[in-house]
């Protein structure tokens, strides 16, 4: 518990600092920082209406954050969650075109599975390219995201287009029974439950199962994984596939619960915001839940900022960017030993264990040898200067490391 609090302290500070800087930023734009902070809070968590809006946005964020977090545990930086989300939404909207679905929960489940499969394939492709073709997965996943968006637009404006959608091209709307409804009559849909369950399940998988542990070994030290004989390629593909499946489900849920058809509104940047959420949660699937709710809240407050203070809707993007930059900077400050820094400006050298006759005197002269009893617990004569040398080297290395570079 203590360590968990300690882990959370730096991200919390980083977010607080980001909010502070954001206040300065809007102050330049002529708005009152105090008012902005108040509206940010009100718009996100002020009343039940804002909470509904917040949670509605948090659901896809959790799932797209998992698309970054799970591969990150296997050592991959995947940033193409947007592509998996878009294709997941497309697969969900397209499934009723090819398959008559029952208008009940089984149908909705089939939609989610279709989305998961599409997303899983897309991100697993990036993982495959990395593992078997040596291509940097950060670049390839983002390129694939652009390809996915192109594919999405092509199909939504072409083969899958509902002729009735005149101004804004869209696919045919899902049948009434297939849509995912709200929880207990609220605006918060069941996607939130899917998101939370996915976060908890993947957290449990990484922490408590052998395969999850193996994934973490592959991510932590590929060489060890190789030595132990873990199937690194398959594990990386599995991690990417799972992550992609989560983002795909996010797209499917957005279509089935919010838009009821696939249209350009689906490309709303949840995939990119998910990267931020995952980094702030330090790629811990369980920590993703609160962070996603927080940033869902900021997203929800964005429209209120726009209405009340006339700030551009991109102001939330600035806040997100600031938070991201600061969270990374805080990572650099994590290892600094603040207490030692406060105590004294020059940190003492690490002490090398002293053995007086080896240490400070020049190599043992011939006469001195005569005084010693030969063949006792001392190291052989020839070894002595060597030990002396190596001790000296250690000491020098230690002082070198401390010297300002």
């Amino acid at each position: 518990m203590r360590s968990a609090l300690k882990e959370a302290a730096l991200p919390a500070f980083a977010i607080a600092a980001a909010l502070l800087l954001f206040g300065v930023f809007v102050w330049f734009a002529g708005a009152s920082p105090l008012e902005v902070w108040l509206i940010l809070f009100k718009g996100a968590f002020g009343d039940w209406f804002s909470w509904q809006n917040t949670l509605q946005r948090a659901a896809p964020l959790m799932l797209t954050a998992l698309c970054v977090a799970i591969p990150a545990r296997a050592g991959l930086v995947v940033i193409g969650g947007e592509g998996a989300l878009v294709l997941g939404g497309l697969a969900c909207a397209a499934l009723p075109y090819v398959l008559p679905l029952p208008g009940n929960i089984i149908g909705s489940l089939a939609l989610c599975i279709a989305g998961a499969l599409a997303g899983a394939l897309w991100i697993a492709l990036a993982g495959w390219l990395r593992q078997y073709r040596g291509i940097n997965e950060t670049i390839s996943s983002l390129l694939l995201a652009y390809v996915a968006i192109g594919l999405f637009k092509h199909l939504v404006e072409g083969a899958l287009r509902d002729p009735a959608s005149l101004n804004k091209p869209a696919t045919r709307s899902l049948a009434e029974g297939l849509a995912i409804g709200g929880i207990g009559g609220s605006d918060v849909h069941w996607g939130l439950v899917i998101g939370i369950v996915a976060c908890l399940a993947s957290g449990l998988w990484l922490r408590a199962t052998a395969s999850g542990f193996a994934v973490r070994v592959v991510g932590g030290n590929p060489r060890t994984a190789q030595l132990v004989g873990l199937p690194a390629g398959r594990l990386i593909l599995a991690a990417c596939g799972l992550g992609g499946a989560c983002a795909g489900v996010a797209g499917a849920v957005e279509v089935a619960a919010v838009h009821t058809n696939a249209n350009a509104s689906l490309i709303a940047g949840y995939g990119y915001a998910g990267i931020l959420v995952s980094f702030i949660a330090r790629h811990n699937p369980v920590a993703v839940i609160p962070v996603a709710i927080l940033f869902g809240g900021f997203g929800a407050a964005g429209s209120l900022l726009q209405r009340r203070l006339g700030l551009p809707d991109a102001s939330v993007l600035v806040l997100q960017g600031l938070a991201f930059v600061l969270i990374l900077a805080s990572e650099g400050l994590r290892m600094i030993d603040w207490k030692a820094l406060l105590r004294s400006r020059d940190v003492p050298l690490p002490q090398v264990r002293k053995e007086p006759q080896l240490h400070d005197e020049p190599p043992v002269p011939e006469q001195a040898n005569a005084r010693e009893e030969p063949g006792l617990a001392h190291p052989p004569q020839a070894a002595r200067p060597l030990i002396h040398e190596s001790l000296h080297a250690v000491r020098e290395a230690a002082s070198l490391r401390r010297a300002p570079q």
């Binding site: 390219l129 593992q131 291509i135 950060t138 652009y146 092509h154 997100q320 900077a329 990572e331």
Partner: protein
Amino acid sequence: MTADQWIALMAGIVGGALRVGAPFLFVSLGECLTEKSGRINLGLEGVLVLSAMASFGGAWLTGSAWLGVLIGATAGALLALLHGLLCSLDRVNDVATGIALMLFGTGLAFYLGKPLIQPQAPQLPAIPLGNWSENPVVRSALQVNALVPLGIVLALLLWWAFARTRIGLLVRMAGDSANATRALGYSVAGLRIAATTAGGFIAGLGGASLTLFYPGSWNEGISSGQGLIAVALVIFARWSPLRCIGAALLFGGAGAIGPALQSIGVGWGYHLFNTVPYVLTLVILVLTCKPGSVAAGSPGELSSTR
């Protein structure tokens, strides 16, 4: 298709290669310089968008396109400087920082660029390369951005500097062996910050050519991953500024296929043809990368290829 349409299509693609390729050229040169110093800056996507906004805004406010270019490039340099400084902290990963600056730069640009969506800014002059032709389609297609010659000169300059000058060798040394640099008494972090900042300045010129020449206006979809394609393009160009020219033209041509087809009335698959640069990048990466081995010509300290 008739002969005229063919000519129009080819002129559209060739002209487009020069027009669409200009931002690719500048961003890839900036990325090349950054990567030569041993860091990878994915934030150049953010730099590109921010400098596109800043140069448009600067040109609009000052009434001079060239002042706008300067303002845009400076904005790009400042954002890249932030990347350089952040990465100099211990345990801060350059790839993650790049992603953060990508989000931050685009957010900042969208925020500050809100009032710039309507107005018209003075544009950069065009160099008419097509005057030899009688065909008006060819003439209008071969209007080339005045920044393109500058980019080519810059590529030559970088190539010469890397090979011949002291500062060029220092940058390469920082990229190949941090230990060697330290042993000779130079600051690795300082060299990398300088190279990253200069790279941001060059990439900023690419942003300027987006809003001040082609497409020539500011909107939030101004760049769709050109900054990231440039990262892949540098791998394709094997970290040589000269090869960056060819690679940028190739990608520009690929990006121009969609609009060129649309201009002659082929509307089908517009969005599909727009994905050609991304697919091309992936195909080239598949062809040039080998698993488990370092790409030829890559700087030794680069984390993306290790």
